[in-house]
């Protein structure tokens, strides 16, 4: 088990009228190489939860283990944890600051204390992974388009070669094409380098095609922790916590109600198309 959350609680501004229970009794385990979707309504505690994973926020109660080690142990090397668990924040392009794209991505490896050759290598590699061409290396990051900026920012994390990559709403504010590009690239990363990926989003459509398992957050608690199909089959419960299953789930369920013997257990449009044509052939 790579990441273990053991009864984690987090309280904001304890002891004042601003007090807020941001996380309540969260427990789960994540295995190496998993592709996980973390879903929840705005303010459900998703962002707070992921900041615990690399120690940016310290839990009020409970323990967190990374590769079997207690990260709150006083001998634990927190800066090493931060390089192992790469956290891409919401709107990561807002953190760009260097004069060139290359220098900005180089910031992470440089902070790891690597020698120049290794840091250069990782920087090139990360930029290649996110599909930023060599002609942009010397451009100012502030001149790029929205999608390009975001990919540069993600490269900034990838250049540290994390074992776990956590992305907070990586597609927010992008057009459909930019969204698909980013998600495809993340899926490819998962396939090729076998790193663990945790994708935070409030859109089921985003994750349906990619993730194996979904954690659903509601009001600071973990409401569901199941594989993708099982979560979608509980779409009525999802609606109660202001989430929705992908549209295909609704199409298939309505078809079934109308008397078509379709299997509702599909998550993507392609699967749904195949299922419907299969059933139509039988009829």
């Amino acid at each position: 088990m790579q990441i273990v959350f053991d009864h984690v609680d987090y309280l904001y501004s304890g002891g004042t009228s601003f007090e807020k229970h941001a996380l309540r009794d969260i427990s789960f385990k994540i295995e190496k190489g998993e592709f996980i979707g973390l879903i929840g309504h705005t303010g459900s505690g998703k962002s707070t939860l992921i900041q615990h994973m690399n120690g940016l926020i310290k839990a009020t109660n409970g323990k967190i283990y990374y590769n079997g080690e207690d990260i709150y142990d006083k001998n634990y090397n927190m800066s090493q944890l931060r390089s192992k668990v790469g956290l891409v924040f919401q709107y990561p392009e807002h953190q760009l600051f260097e004069t060139t794209v290359y220098k900005d991505v180089y910031f992470g490896p440089k902070n790891l204390g690597l020698d120049k050759l290794e840091a250069d290598l990782r920087t090139y590699e990360a930029l290649k992974m996110v599909g930023i061409g060599e002609e942009l290396l010397d451009a100012s990051p502030f001149e790029l388009s929205g999608g390009q900026k975001r990919r540069v920012a993600i490269a900034g994390i990838l250049a540290m070669r994390p074992e776990v990559l956590v992305l907070d709403e990586p597609t927010a504010g992008l057009d459909p094409r930019g969204r698909d590009e980013i998600l495809d690239q993340i899926a490819m990363l998962h396939k090729e380098s076998k790193i663990t990926i945790i994708l935070v989003t409030h859109s089921m459509e985003d994750v349906a095609n990619y993730v194996d398992r979904i954690l659903v957050m509601n009001n600071g608690s973990l409401a569901m922790d199941q594989e993708t199909r099982s979560v979608f089959s509980r779409y009525k419960e999802l609606e109660e916590i202001h989430l929705a299953a992908p549209q295909v789930t609704y199409v298939m369920n309505t078809l079934k109600e109308k008397g078509f013997p379709v299997n509702t257990d599909v998550t993507t449009v392609t699967e749904a198309k195949n299922e419907i044509t299969r059933v139509l052939k039988i009829i």
Binding site: S17, S79, R82, Q95, F97, N111
Partner: protein, 274 residues
């Protein structure tokens, strides 16, 4: 870390003080500050302390929360008190090597400490109970006569309300960018002065960029809603003094009168020496 700064923050509870007219609270704070700086007599300070305690009780803001505001001035407080204690000339009480504590020194040290703390407590109590919008509204109305001598009152008030509004936003943004850079291995805490100053670049550049972006967005949004300065602009909620505010003014003035009377007649009261 950044969340600990409480000065200038609004504390949302419902109390009589929260519902009062902001002009009253501004004038009241001014009067209170004048009262703590005009008088340094023992009995006067009993009255001032009682007045402040009752105001704090009325505000329903937890005392612990108000005290947190003092944290920011602890260093200044200790500095002033120590200097006053050791460097004032007068009748010597204790001698510690080349240092000496005088009666007058002890007196001014204690009163300086009290004054500074009361200054912070009193003024932060105003911001705890008044939203930034009310505060600038009140200020705009109070300063309105100055328009005659070409003071851009509306512009000043608008600038102030925007600035106040953006303090929490920029703090939050700082927090976010700091965390994002820490996730990339940035270190804001260790190293010498030069290293630390250099380390701030990854924080300050994105912060400035975002401040300009927000300023742009805000200007656009204001123009889209036809903002064109204060001339002829009406208020959705104009300020009106209620009967309660009038009563409060009377209480405030009698408090001020009481402090004046006490300090004039102090010499007839039983002598108290520290």
């Amino acid at each position: 870390m950044i969340r600990d700064i409480t000065i200038g923050q609004y504390y949302p509870v419902d109390s009589i003080l929260h519902r009062m007219d902001p002009r009253l609270k501004l004038n009241g704070t001014l009067l209170f500050i004048i009262s703590i700086f005009l008088f340094d007599t023992f009995y006067g300070y009993i009255a001032i302390t009682m007045f402040m305690i009752s105001i704090i009780k009325l505000s329903k803001v937890p005392f612990k929360f108000i005290l947190r505001g003092l944290k920011a001035i602890v260093v200044i407080l200790i500095f002033t008190m120590t200097f006053n204690l050791f460097l004032t000339q007068g009748d010597i009480l204790i001698r510690l090597g080349f240092l000496k504590i005088t009666k007058q020194g002890l007196h001014s040290s204690i009163f300086m400490g009290l004054r500074l703390s009361y200054l912070i407590l009193g003024s932060s109590l105003m911001t705890f109970t008044t939203t930034p919008n009310q505060l600038t509204d009140g200020l705009e109305r109070l300063l309105w006569p100055l328009r005659r001598i070409k003071v851009p009152v509306h512009e000043i008030a608008m600038m102030m309300s925007i600035a106040l509004r953006f303090i929490p936003i920029l703090l939050e943004e700082t927090d976010k960018i700091m965390k994002a850079q820490m996730a990339r291995g940035a270190d804001f805490e260790s190293g010498g002065v030069v290293k630390r100053a250099k380390g701030l670049v990854p924080l300050l550049v994105p912060l400035f960029v975002s401040a300009f972006r927000r300023a742009n967005d805000l200007a656009m949004a204001m123009e889209a809603r036809c903002y064109r300065g204060g001339e002829g602009r009406t208020k959705m909620k104009p300020l009106h003094y209620s009967r309660r505010d009038m009563v409060a003014y009377i209480i405030l003035l009698s408090y001020f009168a009481l402090v004046i009377i006490i300090s004039i007649y102090e010499k007839y009261l039983p002598y108290f020496s520290l």
